[in-house]
Every structure is written in structure tokens, then in C-alpha cells.
């Protein structure tokens, strides 16, 4: 029996810049939320949200977001279950891997150099 097609999966991608420069955390709900997520693990003096996109991606298809650095962030949902979505992630010229992303739990990838700091990418389910 063929598995039921779950249809496109909704993702949110947030692209953030953190640095040791002045500026603090950008005054927006989204920036403050990102700060709450990554602040305990990463020390920075400035945090700005550079981009926020939503993508509807069917299983085994590729979602792609162009980063400010010119590189691409790609992700492919591979399997959907009650414990989340198994997603293959590829950050161009940086890293790739497979991650199980449950609902309400952000996947954060950081470290790509950009301007005077680093880019941080948050991938989350949007449903």
C-alpha cells in the first residue's frame, strides 16, 4: 500500500548576523526570540535579523534560500513522522548533515563568516 502523501511541509528560515560590534539585539520580536535561543550558547554584542522566509517543500524536494554571503542554504525533507521531519541540510561550501526537526524545536546552524561577524541560520517547522 502506497504511503499517503503528506503534501508540502511548511518551513521557516531565519537568517541572522551576529558580531562583536556595537548594536545590541535588534529591536524586533523575531530578533529577541533568536537571542533567547542562541544567546546561552553564543556570545555576541550585536544581533540582526537579515532575512526571514517561508517555504513549502514536499518530501524529497529541495528548499533553497540564498544567503547574504551569496551562498545557498538548501534543505530536503526526507521523512515525516510523529517525532518530526528528517531533513537533509546543506550549507554551501560549509557543512551538510541530516537532522530530525520536531515541531517547535529550531535547528540552528552558524559560523559562516559574513562582514564583521557570522551568519546564523534557523530552520523551523511552520505548522
Amino acid at each position: 500500500m502506497a504511503a499517503e502523501d503528506p503534501g508540502p511541509i511548511a518551513f521557516e528560515v531565519t537568517v541572522v548576523h551576529v558580531s562583536s560590534g556595537k548594536g545590541g539585539v535588534q529591536s524586533s520580536d523575531r530578533a529577541r526570540r533568536v537571542d533567547r535561543i542562541i544567546g546561552p550558547q553564543i556570545k555576541y554584542d550585536s544581533l540582526r535579523v537579515l532575512d526571514f522566509v517561508r517555504r513549502q517543500v514536499p518530501l524529497d524536494q529541495i528548499g533553497s534560500v540564498k544567503l547574504p554571503s551569496g551562498k545557498r542554504f538548501r534543505f530536503r525533507p526526507m521523512d515525516l513522522s510523529d517525532v518530526g521531519v528528517l531533513v537533509a541540510v546543506d550549507v554551501e561550501q560549509s557543512a551538510q548533515g541530516d537532522f530530525r526537526i520536531p515541531r517547535g524545536k529550531p535547528f540552528v546552524f552558524g559560523g559562516q563568516r559574513y562582514q564583521d561577524g557570522q551568519l546564523v541560520i534557523l530552520l523551523e517547522l511552520d505548522y
Partner: protein, 166 residues
């Protein structure tokens, strides 16, 4: 990997960490649907485990210590970190240098290719390949998964607060 590969050959390739990208996720999807293949995989893993045990018993400890002393410091450090990775089915594929840092993160992996054979209920990481750059799993619990790749000069990674300093 050619189109003529049998399921058994793919199974061995998967077990050896030779399946990557599209081939790997296709195989894993099939694995999810095929109980017989899962059973075969479990049997192969058990065989592999027994072989490793036999090999370990066959190696005289004093010989290993003698070899280990001749390894570069980074290799020794890598072995120590590798031993501390808790998941029993964890497997290291690549042998690129590991870099020790003093980040007191809950979960820390400095590796080029690391596979978590069986992610915990809270953990999300299945495998990561950072293409030669040191990489840290700063957090992988029920709240978030935070992966950090260190490009170029790493800056201060031994923050007093146990955090990565930008």
C-alpha cells in the same frame, strides 16, 4: 555505486558509511519501509560489533600504547574525544584532525564526519560533514539544536561562560 548494485551491496555500503547524499536518504527511506532489510542490517551490525570485539581482544594493550605514543598529539586527542561520545552505535567515518576546545557545551563534537546511529529522543543530529572545518554541536536537546562550524580563524572558543565568543 552503480544501478546494478544489489540491496545487499547497498546494505554493506550503508553500514560502511559509503552511501552519501541522495543515495543515502533513498536507502534510509527504503529501510524504514522494509522490516527484512532492517533485520539484515541489525544482523550485519551485530557481526561487525563482534568482529571489533575480537580485534580488540587480539590487540595487546602494550602494543597499542606503544603505537599511541607515536601518534601526533591531535590524533591522541581525537581518540579521547571519540571514546567519550556516548552513543554506542556512533561511528566516525573520517579521520581528519579533531581540535580540542574548552567549550563546556552539553553536547560537543569536533569532527569532520560524525554519525549518530540512533539519535536520542531529544537529539536531532543524525550525521554531519563539515568538509574539513572544525565543528561543534553546542546544543542538541529538546529546546534546540545548535551547530557551529568554525571557518578560518576561530577566535575565542574557550569563553569563560562556556559559550562561543564571536
Amino acid at each position: 555505486m552503480s544501478a546494478r548494485d544489489t540491496p545487499s551491496e547497498r546494505l554493506h555500503a550503508y553500514l560502511d558509511g559509503e552511501l552519501r547524499g541522495l543515495a543515502r536518504w533513498r536507502f534510509e527511506r527504503r529501510l524504514v519501509r522494509d522490516p527484512a532489510m532492517r533485520q539484515e542490517l541489525a544482523a550485519l551490525e551485530e557481526t561487525s560489533r563482534l568482529l571489533r570485539e575480537v580485534e580488540a581482544e587480539a590487540s595487546a594493550p602494550d602494543l597499542w600504547e606503544a603505537i599511541r605514543l607515536r601518534l601526533p598529539a591531535l590524533d591522541a586527542q581525537r581518540a579521547e574525544v571519540g571514546e567519550s561520545l556516548a552513543a554506542p552505535r556512533s561511528r566516525l567515518w573520517a579521520l581528519s584532525p579533531w581540535v580540542g576546545v574548552g567549550v563546556a557545551a552539553a553536547a560537543l563534537a569536533l569532527a569532520i564526519g560524525v554519525e549518530w546511529g540512533d539519535a536520542s529522543a531529544a537529539g536531532s543530529v543524525r550525521w554531519i560533514d563539515s568538509r574539513g572545518s572544525p565543528l561543534m554541536v553546542l546544543q542538541d536537546d529538546s529546546k534546540a539544536t545548535i551547530i557551529w562550524v568554525i571557518e578560518g580563524e576561530p577566535g575565542d572558543l574557550s569563553g569563560r561562560s562556556g559559550r562561543v565568543l564571536i
